[in-house]
Amino acid sequence: MNPSQGDSSIIAQRPEGLPPRTPIEPQSEGELLEIAMGPHHPSTHGVFRMDVTLDGERVVRLKPVFGYLHRNHEKIAESVSYLASMPYTDRLDYLCPLTNNWAYALAVEKLIGQEVPERAEYLRVILGELTRFQNHASSIGFLIQEMGASGTPLMYAFRAREKILDLFEELTGARMMVNYMRFGGCRVDASSAWLDRTRKVVANLPMFVDEFERLLCSNEILMARTQGVGVLRPELAINAGVTGPMLRASGVNYDVRKVDGYGIYNRFNFRVPLGDHWDVYDRFMVRLLEMKESLKILEVALKEIPGGPVMDSKAKIRGLRPKPGEAYGRIESPKGELGFYLISDGGPNPYRYRVRPPSLINLTILEDMCLGHDVADVVLIFGSVDIILGEVDR
């Protein structure tokens, strides 16, 4: 364990809330009602179904149903070369293509023992943190949207996200389907003009976070709808393999960036936000605080980024045939721990290619969090998990 981790966490604070709501008494007479929420319910972020059993307004059973977006990504990746899967990883969690690229590149680099040049590592950190920022902003926006605040907060989030996507487009050629990272570096170098523009955008982002915070944190409706809703106990969160902001909002200090220090993350000084009430409000606050920490990392990384190549000149990309063996590489993606598990038999295609999808595994405890709550809270609790169906169903 890294001893420097002791003081590097912060607890999410909250303004004085409202008194806790009295839970609705279970209605003993009457029948249970089964409803299928989804697959086209607007809150399901894609095509996803929850089979919910209700006693009056109260949830007594909830079973998620997956597979509407299943295209067997893993099978397709096993039938093509290592490089050919890189663009397809963009389509897993399509809000965060760059972290998907990074996780896959990291797993292959572990498999073949590939080094990454310094400048490429910095670029990866910059792009990864920009991705985290825009993911958390939109995720908060969606959460508020599901609470009934149609439009405004989501559009505030998208306004900031759009500036970041413009940077992605300028560097990689695409807003979302970036196909940017390679085994041993990045595909193209960033110009100094791009870095200047990025510095300018990053310098303006704290204003956006502060505005967002003022707008939302002490909003009475938001507090009433989220505080004490969807509590997830830390022991259950760990046992159920929940990762990312979800886990940290349950008060567990576990961030793969700190634990593994992959890439060059151990050079940056940032804190890990934790929740101490374990509810939806904490998840919202943890994401907001993580956005601020991302900005700190970005500021330092943009200042320190060295010159040099962005690809290892000895790296073999096309026609890659790793020696037989296996590797599991994982990163802290905005949704949680995103891992790739690869087995090579010496051939040009992976023998086994596995994605460890944080979105799917974070849904394991959806039923536990929803039981006993109103059906309207299910939408919020589901929104606070922050999933993307492209990654859940693969």
Partner: protein
Amino acid sequence: MKTVEEIKSAIEAAVPGAQVELVLNPSPSGQHSLRIQPGQAVAVAKFLRDDAEFKLDYLSNVTGVDWPSYLEAVYHLYSVEKKHGPVILRMRTVNRTDQVELPSLTPIWRSAEFQEREIFDLFGIVFTGHPDLRRLLMWDGFKDHPMRRDYVDPDDFEYEPTAHDDVLRRAQEHEAAATGQQPHQETGAGA
């Protein structure tokens, strides 16, 4: 973090009759794994989760692998408390056809719940002791296991108006198989 040899001897000392085999990984990642016997898997898992020295309380990744003569389940374990890992466990089925049962580790780590369902769905490993073993991604009436290497796509191909030789050829084959008639010559492949 202890080496795999030390973990192996710790398991063998703690779980009576446990047989653990070291599976070395020649790749630069150096992630060696431990192959355990299905009969002792739950006891070994419980030991690794609860032992004060290992505290492998977090099961990150569960996946299946289809090898030529058996199916394998692979578990990647980490410790949130001690911040170490991964420890990799593997289990093999007897064969690929009729003896495909493995014990479920969902009672030990909840995070295996959906992942073991996915393996059951796509690889056809039956996890005994799983609380809710249903298909996860494919629909319930589906018969085969698509991630197996000998899986053949069903011939549910239908004609699409795509000017593509391969598409046209398959459309004709499908039509001929469905109706028992000879394919039309004038739109044949390469025409």
